[in-house]
Symmetry: C2
Subunit: 388 residues, 2 copies
Amino acid sequence: MENFEFSSPTKIIFGKGTEERIGKEVSLYNSKVLFLYGSGSIKRTGLYDRIVASLKAWRVDFVELSGVQPNPRLSLVEKGISICKKQGIGFILAVGGGSVIDSAKAIGAGACYDGAVWDFFPAAKLVTECLPIGVVLTIPAAGSEASQFAVITREHTQEKLPMQGEALRPRFAILNPELTFTLPPYQTACGCVDIMGHVIERYFTTVPNVDLTDRLCEAVLRTVITNAPIVLTEPQNYAARAEIMWAGTLAHNDLLSTGRIGDWSSHRIEHELSAIYDITHAAGLAVIYPAWMKYSFKKDTKRFVQFAVRVWGVDLPFESEERIVLEGIRRMESFFKDLGLAVRLTELDISSERFDEMAEKCAAFWSSGGNYHKLEKQVVKDILELAL
Amino acid sequence: MENFEFSSPTKIIFGKGTEERIGKEVSLYNSKVLFLYGSGSIKRTGLYDRIVASLKAWRVDFVELSGVQPNPRLSLVEKGISICKKQGIGFILAVGGGSVIDSAKAIGAGACYDGAVWDFFPAAKLVTECLPIGVVLTIPAAGSEASQFAVITREHTQEKLPMQGEALRPRFAILNPELTFTLPPYQTACGCVDIMGHVIERYFTTVPNVDLTDRLCEAVLRTVITNAPIVLTEPQNYAARAEIMWAGTLAHNDLLSTGRIGDWSSHRIEHELSAIYDITHAAGLAVIYPAWMKYSFKKDTKRFVQFAVRVWGVDLPFESEERIVLEGIRRMESFFKDLGLAVRLTELDISSERFDEMAEKCAAFWSSGGNYHKLEKQVVKDILELAL
């Protein structure tokens, strides 16, 4: 186990009807608020009206900014920063999924910074100051509601990059599983894969003696594997929606990173895909993971065997480790397919045409690589080839 | 799953050599400090000298108070409160195990309160104010380093009671597994059982649909079951000591309570035992759990089956649930015995002589009971009888 520091200060307010508390929680910060949301689905479901009523009841003064898109754009972030600076905003309320929360983080960091907010991204400059953020989560997936990360896309260069810093962790997050009942099946499935991705990246570490966090990772993965098919067939099953929602937060608040060094190669490769093709992050991950695993497992066979046995219940004779690993990967692919996701690039109508460009961008930015390989251009290309 | 609120703000600083940072961490609070510790084992190991050197290097002004005993006493807490009030102490540094940390919490709460600190205990009055506390942990067991609880014994009435409040959570906790290399085998074993106890109490809930937290509980229990025999045979095994130490914190910071209602009957009954006989808390728990389980399992057989199968690996035919449960309990007893602990009161030279008195005190204070029974006098007596 590696030395580590960890705290998870975001106050989680979880359960039925908890969004009714939003006015009170925001009013504790006693500031002028930017109310940020996405495409307007919160208006169709009535959530918008309930939030506005609660904010008004607590006399919270707010400015609205909507239109956050999936793979959230730098242009909207810049618009938000300008509003915050001009209007003296002191708190950001993000209502939505990861794209809205990530945008709120970038806006909050930019509002406390004199230069251009994109400075934080390519230079991986740690964020030390950010406006306080509160969240009402509607999509369990990105784990941004309690994480110290955000990912933003700069449209004109097709760059999708992360920013990081303890200052980015939201002050509170309201998680009501009922708010996820209306999520369409595809978004539900993508959310589950996104959650699994956060765990898988942390699971594949080369740090030895990480028994407890291995088991915690496996617990979260098995919970998602058990409950994902239920939420797809019974979208209003509160119990299963609750399991997925809480799993999504714990997958990415860094509890599962304690003492470990994660891999994140697949995330990096996927970001190149979704930056160019604007596919859902998780749709890209479902394609990249099997390819990355096939490419990587010989570097750390025992860990991939453990993954197959403990997470996917593979029960083959231990004499052939490779068969166990490949059966684990096959079960994972089969699980993704059952959720309705593609597991090959060709199914997404993505050919090898721009592999060179993606591999080059990925290698240029992430040459330090993951745990098993440097992300050199050829490595990225080989993994993309396996994903075809 | 029940609605819940959760945050875990204590900054955990984990790993080799981390106690060297104590002066710097304390100096962030910039206050006059009470340095609290136990019997002086920290002087024998050299930890005391390293801490004093670090505090002095950072020009931290401190007053010492030592002599905290296991089953920590109210009298010393009152002495600490008096020092804090007279000398304008603004921060408490607790170096030791649960007894020292619990004493620090009671001192910190009492120093911010005009009345007698014992007021918080029998009335279960929520603590809302406490001096900030920092911890250097030397015994992984009580989980007090990141919890909102403390347990104190009032000597002259032989009452051992808990206090609670978010304000009691330490600001930071330094966890260096190397500091546990010198723990004697008996204390090591008791620590492991204490940790398991915190998980077991949370595990036995009657709240349905708690899949994720069930699995997280099982992950922590299996980690302790795997690593406890290693730390006993190889006391300087850093990896295994680290697993136990991190498990001890996660067992009691309330992550494993999210959405659940714990039982805590066995803790309450054990507190009567250790208040009278001054035995180690975990030594009492190792005796009470098997008895409590035998007394209770028919109220929720499926959950006890899950415990036997997933935690203890019982692999009997599912047609006889009772056999599975009893085999799980037998394995738990056998595990405790292998750690060198007694599993019957008679082995501790405790007879039925004072059962009436203990049962009466327990019932008077905790009549609301646990999940499966009210803690009426006869129930407590019946469980104690099964523990003979």
